[in-house]
Symmetry: C2
């Protein structure tokens, strides 16, 4: 069946990519591996997820890209703009709000 919309993932790819790129510029394929790494293998994003998000963020002015050829291969490096930093902060606050709300609900002891 291939469950196409797993729960709790909306907004997560965007947040993770912005966060990683806020540390240093990276290219798409590198981000695929990096997401797995920094999330402790908990979250894995395919290229089909990563690239559309990168393109969308660049279109929206949150990222800027530059091409670079390394070992005969062309890579597209992405970096966060000022606008992207603002977007990242906003997303982080939003994540914290939802996370806190869900935690509060789950921490309520239930008899069962």
């Amino acid at each position: 069946m291939a469950q196409s919309n797993p729960p709790f993932m909306s907004g997560v790819p965007e947040l993770l990519l912005l966060r990683l790129l806020a540390q240093r510029e990276m290219y798409g394929y590198e981000l695929v591996r990096s997401v797995r790494l920094v999330t402790g293998e908990a979250i894995s994003l395919g290229e089909g997820v990563i690239y559309p998000v990168l393109h969308g963020l660049e279109k929206g002015g949150a990222l800027k890209s530059r091409r670079k050829t390394v070992d005969g291969r062309t890579r597209v490096y992405y970096a966060v703009t000022r606008k992207g930093h603002t977007r990242l902060e906003k997303l982080q606050k939003e994540w914290e709000r939802i996370r806190g709300g869900v935690s509060a609900a789950l921490d309520t002891p239930h008899h069962g």
Copy 2:
């Protein structure tokens, strides 16, 4: 504009409703207020969100309902079935996985 797909909310309504109903049976309108309460006002779900989720869960066998008239008003009370408990546990684990992954990523210190 009314941002129709806010980030980080996918799966959250279902998780919260199952969790609340695991404590005691409740009716739709009551759940609307209860969600706000237990999340410390962080999360608010409208009736247009609640009812479809309840119907979907009942259809899937996770909830069972019974009608009850109180003060001349008919209420539909929902309770979690065994299947619903299984579903809740699964969702909780899933939430914990994503939450952990994102936390790990965000906790990584970044130079900026």
